[in-house]
């Protein structure tokens, strides 16, 4: 009998202990919260370190919070989001770029006007994400379209840049011819995996020739591509393509390969690219980065004859972050966005990524191995008038398709005459 009682007691005790342990564990789990973030740019160590730092800072400020960042490349991230968001799933916070307006129209992200501290973000950058009076994502990365060049090769060709670092369109055409004659690829560019790089030279030339107002009208379908000024620019780019400005494998060369083409093998004179170029290039050589002693320089895109705004250049927002409408932790998600946007983090961004940012900062002087580069980048911004937004961020629908097929690839690739290119662009874009 005593044995039976003891057995019963021990069983009850065990049950009670189990309940206590389970309850304790449950309460511990209930206190812990995980904020999930999906981010692009897994292959850019400086950006990975930056965002992980913001995550750790937020965790330190919120005991019990765990910020889990899953790193992707762009294609994988977009594919995962396309599956997760319609199902009401997905992370609390995710990476977006300004051309991805479908997330707004589909209601997958929430307005951030009352969630984020906008006093720390430049107004022009906020505008890139303002639609119908609401702001939908936090801009983090800002960049300008730049024309990088190899200083040694330019010297070898006997060409000296003027004080403004801007050649005229005729001088630029001559430079292309000289480089080709010296068996140097003039412009390292490829459109094998991106819908925009092939249009850098053409788009920047159009901006300078037309000025920001008419250029904006052109991209919004309010100005015909048959406008004589537009045809002039197309004819000039056709001449460049005919003179062998681009590599023979232009149509299949991928973005990362074009960088390597420029600074390593086989080497090229120029590389038109967004200033985010450094995120990939300023990594160790063994990781595919640019050699530390590579003589990189930045020149302005050429001044166009009778250009309405030869001091104009494109300024755009890149990496941005949005909050999933299905998130149950929107306040914490907003806290993560704010943690990435402090002035200190803005300075950290510039000093480690060597790239402009949408976050207001007070960096007066630069240090580190790439300080010279960043000084030159800032020098190229002096007196610049900015047009906000890359063409690919602006055009939609059939116009986007025409832009990708014609302005990005077929035309600079030498596959189309000017009149046909202009006609195809008008069919896709012009609403007049």
């Amino acid at each position: 009998m005593r044995t039976r009682r003891a057995r019963t007691f021990s069983r009850v005790s065990l049950l009670a202990a189990s309940v206590l342990v389970a309850t304790g564990a449950w309460s511990a789990r209930a206190e812990d919260t995980t904020l999930t973030v999906w981010s692009h740019e897994a292959d850019e160590p400086a950006k990975v370190a930056f965002r992980e730092q913001a995550a750790r800072d937020l965790e330190a400020a919120h005991p019990g919070l765990h910020v889990k960042i899953t790193w992707y490349e762009k294609g994988g991230l977009d594919a995962a989001l396309k599956t997760a968001l319609p199902a009401g799933q997905g992370p609390d916070v995710f990476y977006v770029e300004p051309d991805q307006t479908q997330y707004i129209t589909q209601g997958y992200i929430v307005p951030l006007d009352d969630l984020v501290d906008w006093g720390k973000i430049y107004d022009w950058a906020r505008q890139a994400w303002t639609h119908d009076g609401k702001t939908w994502a936090l801009p983090q990365e800002a960049y300008t379209d730049e024309l990088y060049y190899n200083k040694d090769l330019l010297k070898k060709l006997g060409v000296t840049l003027p004080e403004s670092a801007q050649l005229t369109q005729d001088q630029f055409a001559d430079l292309v011819k000289k480089a080709r004659a010296a068996h140097i690829t003039p412009i390292a560019q490829g459109v094998g995996d991106r819908p925009y790089p092939g249009a850098y030279v053409l788009a920047e030339a159009l901006l300078r020739k037309l000025g920001p107002d008419d250029y904006g009208k052109l991209l919004h379908g309010q100005l015909s591509f048959e406008d004589p000024r537009v045809v002039d620019v197309f004819a000039w780019v056709k001449e460049l393509a005919g003179d062998g400005a681009y590599p023979r494998n232009f149509m299949t060369l991928k973005l990362g390969e074009s960088h390597y083409y420029f600074y390593q093998q086989p080497g090229a004179l120029m590389l038109p690219m967004g200033s985010w170029y450094t995120g990939r290039a300023f990594v160790p050589v063994e990781q595919g980065g640019q050699p530390p002693d590579f003589p990189i320089g930045i020149m302005q895109f050429p001044a166009m004859r009778d250009g309405a705004c030869n001091e104009c250049k494109t300024l755009a927002v890149g990496a941005s972050f949005a909050i999933n409408a299905a998130s149950r932790r929107k306040d914490l998600a907003a806290a993560f966005l704010n943690a990435m946007s402090t002035p200190e983090m803005g300075e950290r961004w510039i000093e480690t990524i060597y790239l402009q940012t949408a976050v207001k900062t007070n960096v007066g002087s630069f240090s580190g191995p790439y300080a010279g580069y960043f000084d030159e980048l800032m020098e190229r911004q002096k007196g610049a008038k900015y047009f906000i937004g890359m063409p690919i961020d602006i055009v939609t629908g059939q116009c986007r398709d025409s832009f990708v097929q014609v302005m990005n690839s077929g035309f600079p690739g030498g596959l189309l005459p000017v009149d046909q290119a202009v006609k195809l662009m008008n069919q896709g874009c012009y609403k007049g």
Binding site: Q106, N249, F250, T252, G397, R400, Q405, S409, G410, G413
Partner: protein, 306 residues
């Protein structure tokens, strides 16, 4: 005599509705959710304009009219898909048959060749695309290097970058990937042929070529027909390889109906699913009509196995 199910243990045909529902339920539910609903939704979307946040408005057959009368890229995609489906199918099946006959005839290194020829079937499309992207590269690709080595520099091309060659280059990559599959199917069919018929042909001094043409091929007819139809249907829906290798370019020269539907749905940043749904419905009807016609035509003569 009682059947096996009439004893103490109930057979499959004696199962109650509850048991049947238990076993069939998950499969039926999955089919309804992932196949039936998307198909019905596509039909629904095709007669609607799908606006932001899935707000729809009925527009009747306007999408279909626009597709058929005012969309040159659609017709370009139809043309490309037709070329891919017809030429690719014939090449796939004929090539697979030739390889299978080589192995059946115990050609030298047959075992190794069987493994080598079948290996591409096991590769993912992405890997295939990367390999062929390298092979076709203008500067360092094997094809152009080989042409240069042979002194045929004038034949060097940017194979994926020129409208005249891109579609054919993609087709070759596709052929390379799937040839091994057809080869294995043919090989299985060859080994299943009645040995006495082949032996009789041999006794009659029938040569290798005559035996192949007059004995083996007629007996392989059902397999040939099945593979032709399966291959044709697969190519009518080709997407992955084209998307990764060329994205439909240059200048729409490799655009297929599937890549165009995807672009209209997800790549144009308009998110109107109505128009691409109309294209999908049209294409579905065309494939269905083809399969029905092929089945009706061949039903009396062969038993199709797809």
């Amino acid at each position: 005599m009682a059947g096996p199910s009439r004893g103490g243990t109930p057979g499959a045909r004696d199962a109650s509705w509850g048991t049947a529902a238990l076993f069939l339920g998950p499969a039926v539910a999955l089919t309804l959710v992932f196949t039936v609903y998307p198909v019905l939704r596509t039909f629904y979307n095709s007669v609607h304009f799908v606006g932001p946040q899935n707000r729809t408005s009925f527009i009747g057959l306007r999408n279909f009219a626009d597709v058929l009368t005012a969309d040159p890229v659609f017709w370009k995609a139809v043309g490309n898909t037709a070329i891919f489906s017809v030429v690719g199918t014939v090449a796939d099946v004929a090539g697979g048959l030739v390889l299978a006959l080589c192995l059946f005839a115990n050609a030298p290194l047959a075992r190794a060749c069987r493994v080598i020829w079948f290996t591409p079937v096991l590769m993912s499309y992405v890997v295939v695309c990367i390999i062929w992207g390298w092979i076709y590269d203008y500067d360092w690709g094997v094809v152009n290097l080989l042409l240069g080595w042979l002194g045929l520099d004038w034949l060097q091309h940017s194979w994926l970058g020129e409208p005249g060659t891109a579609l054919w280059a993609v087709m070759v990559a596709h052929l390379w990937k799937w040839l091994g599959f057809n080869m294995i199917v043919f090989l299985a069919a060859l080994h299943a042929l009645p040995g006495d018929v082949l032996a009789a042909a041999e006794l009659d001094n029938c040569g290798w070529l005559a035996r192949t043409v007059y004995v083996i091929l007629p007996m392989l007819r059902p397999t040939v027909v099945n593979l032709l139809i399966l291959s044709f249907i697969g190519k009518m829906m080709i997407f992955d390889l084209v998307w990764v290798m060329t994205g439909g370019g240059p200048l729409w020269s490799t655009e297929t109906v599937s890549t165009y539907v995807y672009k209209r749905a997800f790549d144009w940043n308009t998110f109107d699913l109505g128009y691409p749904s109309a294209i999908a419905v049209l294409w579905f009807a065309l494939i269905l009509a083809f399969v029905a016609a092929a089945t009706a035509l061949l039903r009396r003569r062969e038993r199709l196995e797809f």
